[in-house]
Symmetry: C2
Subunit: 134 residues, 2 copies
DNA sequence: ATATAACCTACGGATAAAGTAGGAAATAAA
DNA sequence: TTTATTTCCTACTTTATCCGTAGGTTATAT
């Protein structure tokens, strides 16, 4: 399964916001430095998430972005479907003979991305960090 | 889930070969007409399947293509991974924090496409034709 | 007033999708 | 042996998306 940088960046950005969710907005610059991602490119990614209402932006000094919900209230599917063209809706339902196949693949993917939350990712990340620090 | 034309054509081509598997090779021209796909484009698709050893080609008059195995011996994953860039191997395993997520998506997709066979597609297709003919 | 941020649009190279086009090589049949 | 058929191969177009760069505009906290 090929996942684009855009999709990966979007998830990392949301994860970063979740990890620094202390009331103050988090600037793109900080995220870009921490995640080692071009800030300019991140701008375009976060713009998609902003328009989708997944984050809230605050302009001006000390501004930045914040999550609008709690991490456990974000399914990663919401993030990926906004940013990863593979996971976008197929649109033209052309009643193909293999429709059942495409639907099964859809269902399989959805069963993962519409179940796993941002909080799950945080948990896994920390478990992993713990394992490596032994 | 967005599936490309190339991937869909590849499946339809293999299905067509399975349906006309009577010992004689099936020409691309016939398939192109039946499936209403540009023959020239089909050439390029079938070339991938040929190089992967999924079909056997016979040149010259009365030539064409044949399946090398029985329909139940083809997983659709074999076909799709050759033709659908979404399903290709990701290559660079960059030990991302969300690796667990990508692996789960991978597993979910594989559990479908490495299980469903060409024969399954034929069956579903016929069931569907039956339902519509009532 | 100023510096800090988000916001917006456009541009660039690279890659892939979805074809189109033209010919070369093999081969069965006349 | 010639001919028609069919696969095979390479190159080209057009459109779109990825990944990133660049430059400027607007809002706002200090």
């Amino acid at each position: 399964m090929k996942i684009s940088m855009k999709g990966k960046y979007a998830v990392r950005l949301m994860l970063d916001l979740a990890e620094h969710d202390f009331g103050e907005p988090v600037s793109l610059k900080d995220i870009a430095v921490r995640q080692e991602i071009s800030e300019k490119y991140l701008e375009q990614v976060v713009s998609l998430l902003n328009k989708a209402g997944l984050v809230r932006s605050i302009r001006g000094p000390q501004g930045g972005y914040r999550l609008v919900r709690k991490p456990y209230d974000y399914k990663v599917g919401e993030i990926l479907r906004m940013t990863e063209s593979c996971f976008a809706k197929d649109g033209d339902g052309e009643e193909d003979a293999s429709m059942i196949l495409w639907n099964r693949i859809d269902d399989a993917v959805s069963s993962v991305i519409d179940t796993v939350t941002l909080e799950d990712l945080l948990t896994w990340q920390n478990e992993n960090a713990y394992n490596y620090s032994i």
